[in-house]
């Protein structure tokens, strides 16, 4: 085999290592017990901006009448519960199903900041 194949072989090896690492997700946070199904925080931010930002502000930095959620310390289960049941002037069920789980994952990801 000619040396011209070396970059391709090494590149393929690197791809294989990255693929295995991506399957393993070694630093994926563990979901707390009782939490809703793990949502997608990336999609959750999209859903949040479409449905929640009008009250909580873009990026959840606080608005009217929604409070600031950045740094609020909420976990995904707590967010999902509020979304489902409502709180104060916030109506119940603004989003549901996977949208709710995604929003919960997103808010939880910024709540510890």
């Amino acid at each position: 085999m000619g040396r011209g194949w070396r970059p391709i072989l090494v590149g393929a090896g690197v791809v294989a290592v990255v693929f295995v690492l991506a399957q393993a997700r070694p630093f994926e946070p563990e979901a707390p017990s009782g939490a809703p199904a793990a949502g997608d925080p990336v999609r959750g931010e999209f859903v949040f901006e479409q449905n929640c930002a009008v009250c909580h502000g873009s990026g959840a930095i606080g608005g009217s009448p929604g409070p600031r959620l950045v740094g609020s310390g909420l976990d995904a289960a707590a967010v999902a519960a509020v979304v489902e049941q409502g709180r104060g002037v916030m109506p119940a069920g603004i989003v549901s199903g996977s949208d709710r789980d995604d929003v919960a994952a997103y808010v939880a990801s910024i709540a510890s900041g």
Partner: protein
Amino acid sequence: MTLADVNETYTDLVTTVFSSTIAAKAWFATAAVALAVVQVTTAARIYGRLDFLPERGAAIATIHRWSGRLAFVCTLPVFFHCVTILGWQTPNTRVAVHAVLGTLVYGVFAAKVLVVRDRALPGWALPAAGLTLASTLGLLWATSALWYFVNVRFGF
């Protein structure tokens, strides 16, 4: 330090500057792509194209080398978040395309680095490897950071 601590420390560090780890990722990817444009431009000049740019020489070569190094560094936080926290996911076409390209990009990078150092390879090998890498990065950016800026929010 446990694995969960690594994730928390990373999140704490990144959110001192950015609103979320996702926003940070979008901006690091944008910086890497901007530097990739510098890479392609300076490479074209080294190959005698783009006559309107300053003369070929040591300065262009230095800019080319350092823009490449910086672009690589900018991809590292993105790699950490995408690969070791989010991992392989294919919930829709955009994310699936992004996952495939993201898995390939470091392999293409490794191949390009080896092609640079191997002078026995044909002359077209290096431009082909460089353009493949720049295209992969550009498509990765379009399926993630651009989507984020257009659909979610354009901000830090």
